[in-house]
């Protein structure tokens, strides 16, 4: 790996100042499972690496049912799925966190890092979109908030400007009679990159047979993960049954503009969107009924 200098600031302010004033390339290091590979392989370069794991706000995971989840940007994935109450309240996100790489990766890799790496196939991003996460971003002179579906702008690129860091993801409190799920298609059992990934969130009526509102997001079928708005809106007021899920799957295919590559053809990926929308809706509805 090319030489760089290393800093591990203890506060958001110091980190943003370091990034804002760095001459040459500065890169943020959280779990390092993407950035260290990219630096080693020369896909990205850095003169300064800023390790943000010493900043308390970025390592904070706070949850309570009335206020929701505050997820520091550098909290490693395993900390999410090891907490029962988070697996119930934010199932799609813990489904995704559990399958980002293997255990060695999950010990280090963070949801915030997965988002900032901005791969179109990132597993946690569709889940964050379905769960209405908001990104809290800091810069030397203040903060701003961006809905997660507006964060990534192209493969490997996002809205962060020089001197800005992602501090946390804020997820709204779980609603009664709601449930969510994330599933991806890969040709192996584990340790692979999504050919397609879909996250669905639903809120049911008290009887549990009708959908009040829903959010579907798809990954790996466009330059960034996409919120399937039309498919999500169609579900409002509809019976929670297979015919409805099928219709939603058909509509969700419209936001897919996949490429063909070694993982699958565009046609196959588009087909999979419909399949996974149906499966994740079915799973999310089951979970909502148990909630």
């Amino acid at each position: 790996m090319r030489a760089f200098s290393y800093a591990a600031p203890g506060s958001v302010q110091e980190a943003t100042r370091l990034l804002a004033t760095a001459n040459g390339g500065a890169k943020v290091l959280a779990g390092g499972t993407d950035i260290l590979v990219q630096l080693r392989e020369g896909l990205r370069t850095a003169d300064l690496v800023v390790d943000v794991k010493k900043i308390p706000e970025l390592m904070e995971l706070a949850y309570d049912a009335p206020s929701g989840l505050h997820l520091g940007a550098s909290v490693p994935c395993y900390q999410l799925y090891e907490r029962e109450e988070l697996c119930r309240a934010y199932s799609a996100l813990t489904d995704a966190g559990r399958i980002v790489g293997g255990w060695q990766i999950q010990s280090r890799a963070s949801v915030g890092g997965n988002l900032c790496n901005s791969s179109p196939a990132a597993d946690t991003v569709p889940a964050l979109i379905a769960l209405r996460a908001v990104c809290r971003i800091a810069r030397p002179d203040g903060t701003r908030e961006v809905p997660v579906e507006e964060f990534c702008v192209a493969p490997g690129r996002n809205v962060l400007e020089k001197g800005e860091i992602l501090v946390s993801l804020e997820l709204p409190p779980p609603q009664p009679n709601s449930g969510s799920a994330y599933q991806r298609f890969i040709p192996r059992n584990e340790m692979d990159i999504a050919v397609v990934g879909v996250a669905s969130w639903v809120k049911l009526n008290a009887a549990g047979d009708r959908i009040e509102s829903a959010r579907i997001a798809v990954g790996a079928v466009a330059p960034t993960a996409r919120f399937a708005q039309e498919a999500s809106e169609l579900l409002a007021g509809k019976p929670a049954d297979e015919a409805t899920f099928e219709q939603a799957g058909d509509l969700a295919r419209k936001v897919a503009s996949p490429i063909s590559d070694m993982r699958g053809t565009a046609e196959f990926r588009t087909h999979l969107v419909g399949v996974l929308v149906k499966r994740t809706l079915t799973h999310a509805v089951e979970r909502a009924r148990q909630a």
């Binding site: 395993y78 255990w103 010990s107």
Partner: protein
């Protein structure tokens, strides 16, 4: 070349200090500076798990950790598994169950297995396969590895019950 940084860690229970460049991985320092060559460099990009060590009790790919990040951390490597000349039950079961052929992946499997059995002393076959998915073996086909982990779990539980 950038300046070397002093790093203080605990490795296999002993305080160890070393000097490293920020760009050096923990794997590089373990192997080339500290001569702890148990952790292997397989892919050097986080896919194969041959370099697995425990960092503060959690399995990590040491090729994807900067050595400077290990300051203040507790590191366990395969060299620390055997105690007073006696193989750890996990090592014994891998050996007796022929859960290795070329052996390159073995130190990583042993460390991931140790972490698994520390967390979950009685894992199901699914738990074993799921938690060891980050360790690749190109010789054995995994069945013997899974059986060795099951046997080690049994022996550790028996030993636990006897104390």
């Amino acid at each position: 070349m950038s300046k070397k940084t002093q790093v203080a860690t605990t490795i296999n229970g002993e305080a160890v200090e070393f000097l490293c460049e920020p760009r050096q991985s923990l794997l590089e320092v373990l192997r080339d500076t500290l001569r702890l060559t148990g952790a292997k460099e397989g892919c050097n990009n986080g896919n194969c798990g041959a370099c697995t060590v425990l960092l503060n009790g959690l399995p990590v790919n040491s090729c994807l950790v900067l050595a400077v990040e290990a300051d203040g951390a507790k590191i366990e490597t395969v060299e620390g598994l055997a105690q007073q000349g006696h193989l750890h039950p996990v090592q014994k079961c891998f050996l007796e169950g022929a859960a290795l052929q070329c052996g390159i992946c073995t130190p990583g499997f042993l460390m991931a297995t140790k972490a698994l059995l520390d967390k979950n002393p009685n894992p199901s076959e699914h738990d074993i396969r799921f938690n060891l998915a980050g360790n690749l073996c190109r010789c054995t086909g995994y069945d013997k590895i899974v059986r060795a982990v099951q046997e080690a779990a049994k022996q550790l539980q028996t030993a636990e019950a006897a104390t």
